[in-house]
Symmetry: none
Amino acid sequence: MNQQETKNAGVTSAEIICVGTELLLGQIVNTNASWLARSLSLLGLHSYYQTVVGDNRQRLAACIRQAAARSDIVILTGGLGPTQDDLTMAVAAQVAGLPLRLHEPSRSAIAGYFERMGRQATDNNWKQAQLPDPCIALPNNNGTAPGAIIAYIQDGHPCHLILLPGPPSEMQLMFDESVVPWISSRTRARLRHVFVRMIGIGESSAETALLDLINQQQNPTLAPYASEGEVVFRITQAVRSEDEEDRTAGLLEAVRQRVGSFIYEVGTRTMPEVLRDLLIERGQTISYAESCTGGLATAQLTDYPDASRVLRGSIVAYDNDVKTRQLGVSTALLQQEGAVSEACALAMARGCRKLFATDWAVAITGIAGPGGGTAQKPVGTVWLAVSGPQGEETQLLQQGRNRARIRKVAALNAHNLVRRQLVR
Amino acid sequence: MNQQETKNAGVTSAEIICVGTELLLGQIVNTNASWLARSLSLLGLHSYYQTVVGDNRQRLAACIRQAAARSDIVILTGGLGPTQDDLTMAVAAQVAGLPLRLHEPSRSAIAGYFERMGRQATDNNWKQAQLPDPCIALPNNNGTAPGAIIAYIQDGHPCHLILLPGPPSEMQLMFDESVVPWISSRTRARLRHVFVRMIGIGESSAETALLDLINQQQNPTLAPYASEGEVVFRITQAVRSEDEEDRTAGLLEAVRQRVGSFIYEVGTRTMPEVLRDLLIERGQTISYAESCTGGLATAQLTDYPDASRVLRGSIVAYDNDVKTRQLGVSTALLQQEGAVSEACALAMARGCRKLFATDWAVAITGIAGPGGGTAQKPVGTVWLAVSGPQGEETQLLQQGRNRARIRKVAALNAHNLVRRQLVR
């Protein structure tokens, strides 16, 4: 026991096995692998392999054995569902030489889940309460399938299998709630991370500006941290204990000196969260007038709790008639300048602020494509405007032809336009 | 030679190895794996494994040997760049026991590429023209790195390594231009897929209703296909040629008899696309009044082109004051029934239809959490209402405590409520 404890304390490597025929057929993109890989990296674990395998008893067992032979921790996702295809729990138990037994707390959690949903559990749902004995059961606070941590020794090498459900919302919550503390107590390496989030600068420009810091720093280190539509850098200090002196501040200051004007957050909050918190601090309210983003900017803000403390309402003014009737944009302006224009964005913001009686209103109007572009206003042209107690500001975006990206970047910059006014 | 040709004609399996440290660190999502997997599946090849490995000579060589032992074709992406980290071509040549030699057509293509770009090739760029000898060189019409098809026999098993660049735009073009014709001439099997998409039924209930079809069908087969927030089944028929009789229709009919009322699409369209197309067909318009979804339902519809043909506008009525002023929900109703009630949803839908003068309006009001729940109306309680030319309908959802899921499922069901009226 003592020896195992000692060895566990030295956990250094982990690999990921994603189970599911839908991955092998390419029907879904494997976002679980990248999410888990990022999380393992933040925990200071090395990860040398990722594997995808189907719901097949023999192939899955072989993959688990191979992974357990070369990594201290094997994380499996998928195949914990109630259907016959879902084999991961049974195969992991078999590899570890453990029997499956009804786990009463899990059975009762599943019963409670169905009761709350007002639905009837079917016979195959109870299969999900069958867990290897012994194991650490991981409660699923977003669905029915519990996860499990299974310890066993393979050819003298002590290893752990960590089984998580496939749906990202269930997997991520379970990992953060149950697996992070478990792993943290078993690794020696501690990493102190500081995330620096920027907007308005491209990744390669940011890298060029920070190149010597990226190449020369040893501890802490500076590295780009990929994130769609924005630029994030990570400062990482390896420490022996939580008490060790924090040396990230000096490097952060050096980063600020180069690209400070683009930094909107040092931490983990997203742009909508930063904006929400600024508005809460000031006790102010906001509304959105969205055309090409079609509700996306407001949906991003309301993704987060407490949006109701700052958002009164929004209007999606897709049709020009709505811009005129509800937002008071004059038909003359629409005819002369067009709906995608600085003047229209500004009129929309003013009308929106009045309509919802908010401190701030922000408007987005543009051409998301694929149709609707012209030589003067190609697809990707977006005008933003903010109207508020400190005055007004507009911004023009030009950003390629990808509809999803145009909408996402426009929404992100709309929040930022208000944020810039607030921190001025 | 003849024997090898005959064996090649029987190519049935392929697997994918993606090479890159940025994948192991989770800095990018592995879209290459899903794109290639989908392409292989459409070509009728079986694919049982996907592997991600870093730019490491020993680990990469071991992965290639393992894959070549169990699959007829091994597709590798990444690691063909000009830097020292890029090892894939050298390691593949070494595994196949082949020397690397300067491939003159590739050298001249790289020279031409830099000339066209008006840039100077650096010394390490010529490394990309070093290919195994012999191999089939695959021209890169989107970048500098050529790909290669390498034939070799490993422990008596003839196999092919297909090396492709990592950037998706280069990889996809090379695959479609050069690899698809090469594979097609060597396979006989073709798969015909039909996707059946459902809403309003849980995955396990659907599987219970279809269990005998799932278990007994040989060709075509029926299998569940995971998709968050909805239920999708896949009918797959293996055919020898494109002309072979389509036998998917019979199985589809059997599925319809069991769960027909839940099917909203046979094909690849999502719920918002199905709704958009129904409205376009009828020349009708729609608007949304969203409370707890905060613009998400409208954002889902406008994710797709041509939403402007059916959507006039939407209102996010987050604050009760907005429900009253803009949508005409009476304060008495709000006081007596509360904002999350059937009566409020219906009043919001009616007010929205009037405000935007649309044929259809749909309202969503609920408690997305984490706060705001009560014993009578727990977090997850959502009322939907539709108002349109065929009358009105309401729906109550109760769906757990996950904010993101509550919002997503509510939006999906809001579209569906209108769709059901349209197909009645």
